[in-house]
Symmetry: C2
Subunit: 213 residues, 2 copies
Amino acid sequence: MPVTRRIPASTIRRLSHYLRSLEDLEREGGETVSSEELAIRGQTTAAQVRKDLSHFGSFGKRGLGYKVDELRECLRQILGVDRVWNVALIGAGRIGSALYEYPAFETRGYRCVAIVDSDPAKVGRQWGELCIHPPEDLESLIADLGVELVILAVPARAAQVMAERAVAAGIKGILNFAPIRLKVPSHVPVEDVNLVMQMEALSFAITQRGSGA
Amino acid sequence: MPVTRRIPASTIRRLSHYLRSLEDLEREGGETVSSEELAIRGQTTAAQVRKDLSHFGSFGKRGLGYKVDELRECLRQILGVDRVWNVALIGAGRIGSALYEYPAFETRGYRCVAIVDSDPAKVGRQWGELCIHPPEDLESLIADLGVELVILAVPARAAQVMAERAVAAGIKGILNFAPIRLKVPSHVPVEDVNLVMQMEALSFAITQRGSGA
DNA sequence: TTGTGTGAATCCCTTCACAGCG
DNA sequence: CGCTGTGAAGGGATTCACACAA
């Protein structure tokens, strides 16, 4: 599954949608799909579907479409979800607790294997099968448990420090809930979750619609 | 603040960053900023900052830059956060509870005024000052409390129905946590929060880096 | 005939470069 | 001078359209 060029982020987002659609189709008993069908379910166009897939190879049969199970497996490989990823949760506050045992993560193979929090009142508590560790343990947890991904759900002021420590300890990617731009080496991908920004996109759209047209 | 053309979504995201940067600057006691300074804080370019702002008017002084408090106020107006928005939370599960009283929402004027959940065991419980209502109450809550935005944090199978009911009851925008594409009238903006997709973007980036280069 | 894979054309966003104002 | 505001240029992503394989 070699990548030849630079893949746009929008393509990757769409691949996620296609994968979900294929899983739905499989449940519904579908054997094959056309790019047309995938396009409808993913809110895009047939040409876009074919272009997206073409970055990674040829998965369809002309005049026939794509085999559902085959394409699903290819997409799982492309997206890297054909295996289990060990995840550490940094920050056991409101968001952290919502994400721990988040069912959607489990089904995609993202498994939380460690929890860290700086609040002494929380350290030592048991969450399901896991125990909340103090921040000092971060490096050893990452090393010992083979953690590759980190969910960073701490206040903005603590985020940069924890990110740097996690990177130094060898993690490979960060899902960041803190409303700051993390400064990390370019080989460590960061995905920012910014709910305030999304709310602002809503109030912007509503406000402009009212005044503009 | 009239909008002349179609504004790209990327611009709106950047406006949110600029607003945050301006608030930081104000705390630091800055009086004026250049597009250069805003660009550095927002991880973009000076030309991009000026172009983004130019969609909405002329806010700077040539040779001088932008007055921090003035531009901040303009951005608040543009983004529609110069007022309070009443929000209803649909779904009082893990995610719902993390979002209720989410401090970052409060400071931007997004105020949760109603909670709804279909679980009889949850209905009637008190969360802070609010009481969890059954789904039947949705329409009357929206009407009586002047709810304009909805945070939809229910399982996928319930999401479409609740979205339709909320829209019919008059809400104007949806922050959607369910992993489906909601079908709503085009005048109702929807922002999707898809954490699995963001995790997949990470595993994709990590996997490809390993195999590609 | 059907529906993929793909170069070409189009569209839109970003970047450039500079005129113009303070 | 310094820095904004903006038309023009450039680059990337989407859409088009069709050759081709089943």
